[in-house]
């Protein structure tokens, strides 16, 4: 048990070091993420101005005021910072294609666990660098959060939801990457996933403004737990029984994707070793 924990720590440490090699790229990448915020704030301003007939303050879209909308958007930025996995699926597919995956068949190390630790390291480095600009942007935008800070219990649920969002994102994209065992190229598949994810996770707009039957659709899909659900918790839109229920469903999806990626990996390796590496 101790040996295993030590292994994890060393993998994590080495992955952290590796991430830090690319300081410049990282800083730039992190800063560039904040540019879309400005355009989004102006976009919603224009939308609300049109809806409210010139008065942004009076306008209301499905229960969202302009301030609510911007607050929601800022929160999905955080959700996505946890649940998005740039390069994961394509990286796994590439490793399958160029044969690097053999390493995980030959050495006593598990691909899914190894890459998870890598990803955690990746995220940790990202948060460490991004926390300052994030804090700055949220400070500038503090007036959009009209309801203020949520209570401790909600905050705890919010964090739990973010962490599960990260893990669902990881295991889901891992599963997509593992499709590479069957189709050598997964980039177009990944593109379709990204496209759906952009709209149906709530990244683009809050999912509760959707009319039927779309609202039912996003409810049964796992995508909403990647962006919408954590943000909705923070904004106090889900509480009590709904909150507990939502977290339980999120946990169920997480377990599902852990199992699913495991099955995919086992079958993929079987196929790979059957067809000849």
């Amino acid at each position: 048990m101790y040996a295993r924990a030590l292994t994890w720590w060393i993998i994590l440490r080495i992955a952290l070091e590796e991430r830090l090699v690319y300081r410049g790229d990282f800083m730039l990448g992190t800063l560039m993420r904040f540019l879309p915020i400005i355009t989004q704030i102006f976009l919603w301003w224009a939308v609300f101005e049109t809806v409210g007939g010139g008065s942004v303050g009076k306008a209301n879209i499905a229960g969202y005021s302009y301030n609510d909308m911007v607050a929601y958007y800022l929160l999905t930025m955080i959700s996505r910072a946890f649940s998005s996995m740039p390069g994961l699926a394509s990286g796994v597919a590439l490793q399958i294609r160029n044969g690097e995956i053999k390493k995980f068949l030959i050495q006593p190390v598990d691909l899914i666990g190894f890459l998870l630790l890598n990803r955690i390291a990746h995220k940790l480095v990202y948060y460490t660098i991004a926390i300052l600009p994030f804090a700055f942007v949220f400070y500038l935008c503090r007036d959009f959060f009209s309801a203020g800070w949520p209570d401790a219990a909600t905050l705890a649920a919010y964090i739990a939801s973010l962490v599960m969002g990260f893990l669902i994102g990881y295991f889901l994209e891992m599963s997509i990457g593992l499709i590479g065992f069957w189709f050598l190229e997964v980039s177009s598949l990944l593109f379709i996933y990204m496209l759906f994810s952009f709209f149906l996770s709530g990244h683009m707009f809050p999912l509760d403004i959707l009319p039927p039957p779309w609202n039912t659709l996003v409810d049964v899909l796992p995508l909403k737990y990647l962006a919408y659900f954590p943000s909705a918790i923070f904004l106090g839109k889900v509480s009590g029984w709904d909150l507990a229920n939502g977290l339980a469903i999120q946990a169920t999806w997480l377990i599902f994707f852990i199992g699913f990626s495991r099955v995919m990996y086992a079958r993929g390796v079987k196929r790979y070793s059957g067809f000849g590496g």
Partner: protein
């Protein structure tokens, strides 16, 4: 004691037959034709503990496929293999901690980090005790003369240095069985020589069992007492390197140095003339005729120096490979005629 036991091991791949042209590409979307490639067809081999065995064979002969089977990367179509009592393709951790595979063309180290970090990762993955890790690491890097490069990012190392680091990484957990797939590919003569020397010393000291594939006869001649020639997925020869020459080459090369004023025009009558550079000449003579031809030459000419040698190993091996090709052709023609089949 047998450490590797292989019986009737076979592996076929199904390869998608892509036809030329756009139209064929479109039909290929719906209906694909596959061809079966028999990479390994029924290999029997026993390797004892501490043996250093070379796999020789042309590209696509099945050498790498055999190594992949033994390291558990692929499953066989039929047959059995046991390495230290384990079935490789079950991929048990207990087995994976006891062997290593080094591929000359594949990189296992972390590209942007110093090699030392990759070594530490291996220490954890393979559960190597800290003091043993230090000791093995120092021993290996001293032998390979790369101790002072440990803290340099791997991407800044030369190909030879990187290969040495790869070897170190693979040997940190003191594997009992080592598979080397062209470990000296692309290296210059000096780096090749260094790696050979290292492997030789290491193998003698640790008595590990090593299977090596290489296209460099120098590697093989320097390292392996036993040579297995694989061609078309089958074992064509299994024995000593010198034995290959005895078995497959019916010729010897006679090098002659003539006294001044000797004429060279009648050498054809002794055998095939390979080279004439007065006052020297080289002849290719059938092995059985060497004594009589030599006597005749010495009798008819005034000779300053003479040497009888085996033909270069590369040539003999090339002959062996092409013999395999001929047999293969015979077999396919026989299969095609139904009468001959019975």
């Amino acid at each position: 004691m047998a450490i590797i036991e292989i019986e009737q091991l076979a592996k076929s791949y199904r390869v998608y037959q892509k036809k030329e042209g756009l139209r064929a590409a479109l039909t290929g979307l719906f209906h694909r034709e596959y061809r079966e490639v028999k990479a390994v067809r029924g290999i029997d081999l026993t390797v004892n503990e501490g043996e250093f065995v070379a796999f020789l064979g042309p590209n696509g002969a099945g050498k790498t496929t055999t190594l992949k089977l033994l390291s558990g990367v692929i499953n066989p179509s039929s047959g059995t293999a046991r390495v230290m009592g384990h079935v490789p393709w079950r991929r048990e951790n207990a087995y994976r901690r006891r062997f290593a595979l080094v591929m000359g063309q594949k990189n296992q180290l972390w590209w942007d980090l110093p090699a030392l970090e990759s070594f530490r990762l291996h220490q954890q993955i393979y559960r190597i005790a800290p003091d043993q890790f230090e000791q093995t690491k120092n021993e290996l890097t001293d032998l390979l003369q790369v101790s002072d490069l440990l803290k340099q990012p791997v991407r800044e190392l030369s190909l030879g240095e990187r290969m040495k680091m790869e070897l170190t990484a693979a040997l940190l957990h003191s594997p009992e069985v080592l598979f080397l797939d062209e470990p000296t590919i692309g290296l210059d003569v000096i780096a090749q020589h260094n790696i050979q020397q290292f492997l030789k010393k290491y193998q003698e000291k640790r008595n590990v069992t090593i299977l090596l594939t290489s296209h460099y006869m120098k590697d093989v001649a320097a390292l392996c007492k036993r040579v297995v020639v694989i061609n078309h997925g089958q074992i064509q020869y299994d024995g000593s390197l010198a034995g290959i020459v005895d078995q497959f080459s019916g010729f010897k090369i006679i090098s002659l140095q003539f006294a001044e004023s000797e004429s060279f025009d009648d050498l054809e009558r002794y055998g095939q003339v390979l080279e004439v550079q007065p006052p020297k000449a080289r002849l290719r003579i059938a092995r059985a005729e060497v004594p009589s031809v030599l006597a005749a030459i010495l009798d008819g000419h005034s000779i300053v120096d003479v040497a009888v040698e085996d033909p270069p190993l590369e040539e003999v091996i090339a002959d062996v490979f092409s013999q395999g090709d001929d047999k293969e052709k015979d077999k396919t023609t026989r299969q095609e005629s139904p009468v001959a089949k019975r």
